[in-house]
Symmetry: D2
Subunit: 382 residues, 4 copies
Amino acid sequence: MVKVLILGQGYVASTFVAGLEKLRKGEIEPYGVPLARELPIDFKDIKIVGSYDVDRAKIGKKLSEVVKQYWNDVDSLTSDPEIRKGVHLGSVRNLPIEAEGLEDSMTLKEAVDTLVKEWTELDPDVIVNTCTTEAFIPFGNKEDLLKAIENNDKERLTATQVYAYAAALYANKRGGAAFVNVIPTFIANDPAFVELAKENSLVVFGDDGATGATPFTADVLSHLAQRNRYVKDVAQFNIGGNMDFLALTDDGKNKSKEFTKSSIVKDILGYDAPHYIKPTGYLEPLGDKKFIAIHIEYVSFNGATDELMINGRINDSPALGGLLVDLVRLGKIALDRKEFGTVYPVNAFYMKNPGPAEEKNIPRIIAYEKMRIWAGLKPKWL
Amino acid sequence: MVKVLILGQGYVASTFVAGLEKLRKGEIEPYGVPLARELPIDFKDIKIVGSYDVDRAKIGKKLSEVVKQYWNDVDSLTSDPEIRKGVHLGSVRNLPIEAEGLEDSMTLKEAVDTLVKEWTELDPDVIVNTCTTEAFIPFGNKEDLLKAIENNDKERLTATQVYAYAAALYANKRGGAAFVNVIPTFIANDPAFVELAKENSLVVFGDDGATGATPFTADVLSHLAQRNRYVKDVAQFNIGGNMDFLALTDDGKNKSKEFTKSSIVKDILGYDAPHYIKPTGYLEPLGDKKFIAIHIEYVSFNGATDELMINGRINDSPALGGLLVDLVRLGKIALDRKEFGTVYPVNAFYMKNPGPAEEKNIPRIIAYEKMRIWAGLKPKWL
Amino acid sequence: MVKVLILGQGYVASTFVAGLEKLRKGEIEPYGVPLARELPIDFKDIKIVGSYDVDRAKIGKKLSEVVKQYWNDVDSLTSDPEIRKGVHLGSVRNLPIEAEGLEDSMTLKEAVDTLVKEWTELDPDVIVNTCTTEAFIPFGNKEDLLKAIENNDKERLTATQVYAYAAALYANKRGGAAFVNVIPTFIANDPAFVELAKENSLVVFGDDGATGATPFTADVLSHLAQRNRYVKDVAQFNIGGNMDFLALTDDGKNKSKEFTKSSIVKDILGYDAPHYIKPTGYLEPLGDKKFIAIHIEYVSFNGATDELMINGRINDSPALGGLLVDLVRLGKIALDRKEFGTVYPVNAFYMKNPGPAEEKNIPRIIAYEKMRIWAGLKPKWL
Amino acid sequence: MVKVLILGQGYVASTFVAGLEKLRKGEIEPYGVPLARELPIDFKDIKIVGSYDVDRAKIGKKLSEVVKQYWNDVDSLTSDPEIRKGVHLGSVRNLPIEAEGLEDSMTLKEAVDTLVKEWTELDPDVIVNTCTTEAFIPFGNKEDLLKAIENNDKERLTATQVYAYAAALYANKRGGAAFVNVIPTFIANDPAFVELAKENSLVVFGDDGATGATPFTADVLSHLAQRNRYVKDVAQFNIGGNMDFLALTDDGKNKSKEFTKSSIVKDILGYDAPHYIKPTGYLEPLGDKKFIAIHIEYVSFNGATDELMINGRINDSPALGGLLVDLVRLGKIALDRKEFGTVYPVNAFYMKNPGPAEEKNIPRIIAYEKMRIWAGLKPKWL
């Protein structure tokens, strides 16, 4: 059994819940779930024990009501908690959402205490953070983080940073928990949080779930790198119509995303080929199915120049939702093994920007095999 | 030092020679050569000792004259043998070439004897087969092969099969040699030839050099497989304007190619997703730079269907030419180690249809690491 | 009121019937119908009075039952005739269909008499031919056509040719009718049929409905031609999973299609740029939504070479079904005006290979304006 | 004879000069020049009489020296004036250029007087403005424009606006001239300048030369519009590595471009389909050959949704350079006919944002035919 608590009940989390319910009922195949039925934990053993949001229109509703806004083929949920109020700290500032957070009526310290208290009741093993993309500054050291909480510094802290801090306190109190961060904010990449996690019996996976064009580009670059082709330039565009793309029209948030996307180039190629890799635009009718365009130019043998042009239509939320089905189970496994701090073999496959900070991106197929080995499974091709 | 003999002095072999000369002179970087400067054998230590063709317009010319027809930036060659007459056996039947082969004036057995005699003089370590694509039937067992040679059965045998047979006799006589087959005809995949190779101290690499859309498609399918996405269908088109695409307008030759291209789908995915993967057409103005188009549809989490559309402009001959720079050096290494028969770790990375017959395609990135280990190099990411 | 009779109740005709019914009921907008509500004939005034097929599984069924196999959102039809038995003449030979035709039990002359007799009862204004693509040889002169019918030459004649001949006799008897041929068989391009049509008060529109990649390629080439860019080469691939793509795996049928597709290059550019434009493959899971890939290289100013790569996912049957909503109305208008023979201004916009034989393809936007003028409408941009 | 003066001797103008020289010498075909040899003015009769720039590294150099920086296959020029100093007014502020303008040492009024005086000596018929893209505000009425010049308002005016003003004074003095504006700044679309042109015997063509993805998108949209397909959304990305793309990383300049690009959607479709059409990014290694990606979704008949994905590699400067060969000749023709003010039939084909302000974009093929008629040529397909 894995008890899961969700932070940010948007498109991704709702797709996770909807798909999980259908998996439980045997209505769909586990496509898009990398480890499918290979793990010792069955889909039926994943239970949603709580969910938080900051959208006034969601808070207080049953989880099933919110999920139905995204997937109207979901009638009822095996476990159907009420959406509770989280913290926002300006993370939804450019979105058409009326936001309401614990911090509106109390200090951050009090908000953290409230969260820890509620979580202790709900007793999750794994806390999943699927907030909207934030503009953030990493802390680097634990002291600055603690000071910011102490000083109630609402300008300095993001929702994710507060949640991760609360998760550490909760883990300490409970004797262990896992925090899965699939948004760009540095948690597994911030030494402050990794240290905090180690000290407080928290497992941290992160950062930024590896979906969409970026891991694909990484694999294409690996393909070129292993043939020693010299990449002249890489351009990658994305455009979509969901709330996350709308969020990214905010410059600060866009920067957060650009960073995690761009790091793959140097990590994989070994040199920083000129590139333009950014979340690019919002176009409402595209909905959750984004359009991606990638252009790569490279030099082959004897000075020849080749070109690749890749287009895709990719459902954004299902891609990440499927990974979550693995991540919550792997979180429980790490927790049972007491691998506190962050777990690179998991991050390397599932995250765009795998923590800890000193580690790099490696080709996903290699990462996949290493992750399988970590998870106690036989490698597939190695 | 690696002494190399070429069979089929067309676009690929001429690009190999041209690029190698520029590498020797330090005029280009070794892009497109996967192992670049990592192997213990320097580019300067590769020497072309002989070259064969069946085009009347090439036989008797200096190698440099023929190379210049393809790459006019090559002025002179460090080693510049004369093109000798090989065997054709109808392999150029649909091409605008006036063909002339040893078998026009003697039996196949006599032709083989002639080749072995000449090769013994030229003393190559590695024989590279870059003939045009042939329509062929594998032998399966050695006896039928020997009988076909004995019976002078010109309908049954292809040029490549005769060359590989001659290579075995040559290796036996010399005490070791390597035969690198980068065209689709089964050599490393034909148990008849693998057995023959083992018995006669011949190393065989093959079959069909892994360039172009197919290894790329393989890596894209690996990318999907490792995320457990269900591939609904795969379409892959190629069109080019070089002699190889012209050759493929012949139905029998096309079938040879279709086989090696299609095998990747089941090998990588584990199920035979519906696919249309064929060499498709000839369009003269495209020249050696082919156009490829790939379309893949797959099911992601929660029943979502995604699509990828990949286009490329890829220089055909340089892609294979660059691999040859590695393959002749690896051939020498295998020869020195006396690994007679075929060498799967090399084939798995460098060949579209890696022999022996019982082995399968694996993701190229995995194959790359295994090949490195075989070659005595450190894996890059493993 | 336009009374319509259908020949070949497959995907296209069923989409036409389904969409028309929804238009009648106001359930959909007339998207994909070029002249939408601009013509004096309302959608409600189009009545399906008869339908023919040669699939044993369809003959004798209600039209609605057959339509439902393709579009299960159609419950009932305003007009719901029974499917009658037509002629096949080997047109479905490579398809998984158990075929049954009038000619199986009578001579072609008797079959024609039967059709004319039935049609006279059903009294259609417009007969629409949506048979599967056939391998055919045009007649060129009327005498040979009449002789083939007389001689019961089932090898020489195709279903479409027999239908068109019957339509002429029917028109003669009735004092006027229209025959709309949206498949590649030459009718409007065969002087034999155009002469026959003129003599018998038949309007003929044809040949091969202008849908899919070909008219799009035509407009792209017009775009280049008007800027005097020199087209070096054009490649166009199509792959789909409907019955028409399966039919095209037959070589003879493929040739019919290739002809009408390729003619656009010279017609639009004024020179025959090297091209590879063919229906390419069948891939069942793609269904009715084909994948197209187009590659065009051209020379711009000062010797620069540019490239376009165009991919599309296009619903095949709706594209043609929408055109039929116009064509049956325009057929009635031509009939009322007694414009017997063929009508180039209609063909030039709606057909891939606009008849009569001596006429050429012109840019579609120009053809559109000329067609509007012919139809009595104001040009849109002229 | 057409005497031409250039404002902004960058990539476009240098390609124009280089290509023109090769045309004069018969070294290239007039590809990319829409009217090629159809106009009564021969390529040899176009003479470059002057050229201006604001790059300190160019001022004072011979035109041939500057052209050679872009096209080193140009050895000498038939007419080789020295580059003179123009005005910049901050137009190159975000570019790696050391700028120097007349206005650095005098008032704008004095600068204008200087230009008019110099031009009167050089005596051009046609002045071509190929400055870098500027951030601008249209004037709307002549009075505000005159006041801004009078007040030496360097913040309010752009280089193009000052040049166009000077052109009007020059035309007045000379009794006629033409000003061709191929950058986005409103001149033909600014009533202030159109009025000024009419009063001072100036022909104005503009604005923003119709090259690249935008006119192509316009023709694709026309293709859909004429079939009454409903466009759901349009995304269009551009990325390039020339100075113009670098200029567009400046937000204000980007906005100028976005406006002219986006106007086509509503003009062609008749409704404002959701779209994201922007110059997108700068990626240095792409050089002058930009990468474009277009995605269009539309509804076809019976509710079917189709998709187009278009990629291109397009040489930026040659596309515009080729149009200039026509525009300077058409400018002379308009001048000879005394069609002062702006000429919509020319603008509608050659400009992204055809003036005057009250006119709209129409499909280019229609515009092409109307332009031919205006130019005294037979329409090609009408």
